[in-house]
Symmetry: C2
Subunit: 424 residues, 2 copies
């Protein structure tokens, strides 16, 4: 038995590696450079160290219709376009391409996050059209949402519960059996839509909860109340969920709410809550920039002559992924004011950032003794250090300004060491 | 040493009972009937069964200024008025009244939920004015938010962590020592405001999270997706919080968001998230009523001739408290349509409901064989029974309509037993 994984990214690669322990796997990606690197045993995302070279695992950017795959798993990205609407082009292309690989009884499994109904209403008609075969007669479809949490070493594919949904109960059983070989437990649901809905709401809940603490942070700052102490105290209640204020980007939380609300509008339902997280969180970068400028002026530093360092560009800590990072909002807002800044990040690829944003990522070793203000935007482990470490990065020892976006420093230490600060 | 507890309600009574195990306690309430009942060993709220008669515990509705209390604890209600603004009249009256009991070094502890700043800006000036004594010189103040969860037998006063905050560190120590005698653990914070803020945000977080699942329920109903199955599936993710759709009333979750937003507006900050839970949840009663009418019409029952039973009136299951219950929204909306209904609730006091809402609560034994539609609004244990139990309540066996507000029935059972249903 041989399986085909479409997409060799954050979702597809770990899946292909896991399955290759017991099955033959062809892992496909349209990106030739990515496939070449993987063939050479290199994963630039640093998810799958030495496990890439393996006789069961074949990387390819070529669709070979001579193959007969029992399972085809689609893990391509489902981003949003410039207008925050779903961009289904990757899933559309992948679906059309793999249609030619479908044989009698092939099972196609979608893992990409999307709105409920996408698989049935968008993908399956494409599969039928381009394969000339019949859904639920010739071929079968399941949806099993990915739950990859980049940078998380605890909740990995083999330790989590994975949802499997299909409108065809025998297919659900088959796919469950398949995933049982790589996951700790499987949770079956009785339709594609339920599985799609379950996935998309997980990130919406997270988005809204972070937005709430962001709003509390904004309000409590006005009221001169330390948000982090309030959150710590509230977290002593048995049913309080401890979220921390911050920028919320990335390709899941920053994207999924738009998918569900897009579908909702088709039903003439205009969501009140679903997007409230986005509405608030999409302004946090600008808020951080404004607080930076305020702190500069309060300390008699001319913003137009100030030198600012931004520490961190990835969308979260200790990963190289910067898709939909909200640090760019801080940068763009400060650039609007013609304020000069240097961005440092030891995790992201300098070339990729240059290509995507035309932005230079500087070397950490060039950070010393130059700055008026540090914005610690992403708590990469290289940045989570005692304050002493930061002392010598400043041009002027009287004015050591720190914007602590993720509350990595203790307030009393900032005060004791005479930093001027803003903490979210 | 003697302590004085102001308010013998859901918060004050358990506190007075707990302290009376080791200390002399005078427990005061303005409600003479309540005090008389408690003297007779009866707690109509059924929180504190046989523990009321105790030589250390004295119930009174009389302020005796000959007493010298080391600690005065205020636990009076902080409701909202008809315009959803904080009603501080109880806390104002209690504060003015106990001012005459203040002696050198008395510590006044507030437990009532309120907005951050209320104790400092509203209560303390009243204490100074009516005692002619000086705050932080003659008398001292702490804030220790109540975390009473009516009906919860697990998270009780002696098993939870209690927050203690004061602007005066010695007072914080003193009050910590006091509560240590009755609580499992104490969490100290460095100001009154932090303690006030921690409390008020706990319920706001809950309100918003329930509002989110309520919105998902409304949307998924339109999309013909079973919300409860989606929520169950999502709950298999390690960081998903399982909330269930429903009416959100009561004197905490239904009230606290208004307290914080009231204070926010003083800072010219108009909250986007804080009230989003209220905005949505305040319409759920009307939504349930609309779905009821739709189900009646779909099943060819003339709504104006229909007989409807509402099961449950309390603001949550297995308690007698009906303050700020949202079941009244269902009732009022149906009454707007001149639809006849009977309300059943084995937990609430019939007299109190009559007095407060001019509404008759019927005996459960009169429920049989009369109705077209049952709205199971509150899952009191008397109502959480198998569907067989409900079969004979209906006038017409062909039309057995059930509105299952809290999803207590299994959908497949409703279908199998031929009920017509709506589940939130």
């Amino acid at each position: 038995m041989k399986i085909f994984v479409v997409g060799a990214g954050y979702v597809g690669l770990p899946l292909a590696v896991a399955f290759s322990k017991s099955l033959k796997v062809d892992c496909y990606d349209i990106d030739k450079d990515r496939i070449q690197e993987l063939k050479n045993g290199i994963d630039k995302n640093k998810q799958e160290g030495g496990k890439l070279i393996n006789k069961n695992l074949n990387f390819t950017n070529h669709l070979d219709i001579k193959n007969n795959y029992k399972f085809i798993i689609i893990t391509v990205p489902t981003p949003i376009n410039g207008h925050n609407h779903p961009d289904l082009s990757h899933i559309e292309n992948a679906t059309i391409n793999i249609a030619q690989l479908i044989r009698k009884n092939t099972v196609i499994i979608y893992e990409s996050t999307t709105y409920p109904g996408c698989t049935e209403e968008f993908c399956i008609p494409l599969l039928e059209q381009h394969s000339n075969l019949k859904y639920n007669k010739d071929f079968f479809v399941a949806y099993s949402p990915e739950r990859v949490n980049p940078g998380d070493k605890v909740n990995t594919l083999n330790s989590i519960t994975k949802i499997v949904g299909s409108n065809h109960s025998k297919t659900c059983q088959k796919v469950t059996k398949l995933y049982k070989t790589i996951c700790k437990s499987i949770y079956q649901v009785s339709s594609l839509k339920i599985a799609e809905a379950a996935k998309v709401i997980e990130n919406i809940q997270r988005d809204i909860n972070i937005a709430l603490v962001n709003e509390l942070s904004v309000l409590f700052h006005k009221m001169n109340i330390p948000t982090n102490e309030v959150l710590k105290a509230a977290s002593t209640k048995w049913n309080f969920h401890c979220y921390k204020p911050g920028l919320v980007g990335g390709h899941c939380i920053g994207v999924d709410p738009y998918y569900l609300s897009h579908k909702a509008e088709q039903y003439n339902y205009f969501p009140q809550l679903l997007l409230s997280g986005r509405r608030f969180n999409e302004n946090m970068g600008r808020y951080v920039a404004t607080q930076t400028i305020k702190l500069l002026i309060q300390n008699n530093i001319n913003p137009s002559k100030a030198k600012i360092a931004i520490l961190g560009f990835a969308f979260k800590e200790n990963i190289s992924d910067f898709r939909n990072t909200k640090v760019i909002q801080i940068i763009n807002e400060l650039k609007n004011y013609n304020i000069k800044l240097n961005v440092f990040d030891p995790c992201v690829s300098k070339q990729d950032v240059k290509k995507e944003y035309n932005l230079t990522i500087h070397d950490l070793k060039n950070i010393k003794s130059k700055f008026d203000c540090l914005i610690v935007a992403v708590p990469h482990k290289e940045f989570v250090k005692s304050l002493n470490h930061y002392n010598h990065f400043f041009k002027n020892k009287k004015n050591k300004l720190i914007i602590d976006v993720r509350n990595i420093f203790k307030t009393k230490d900032l005060i004791k060491q005479n930093f001027k600060y803003f903490q979210l």
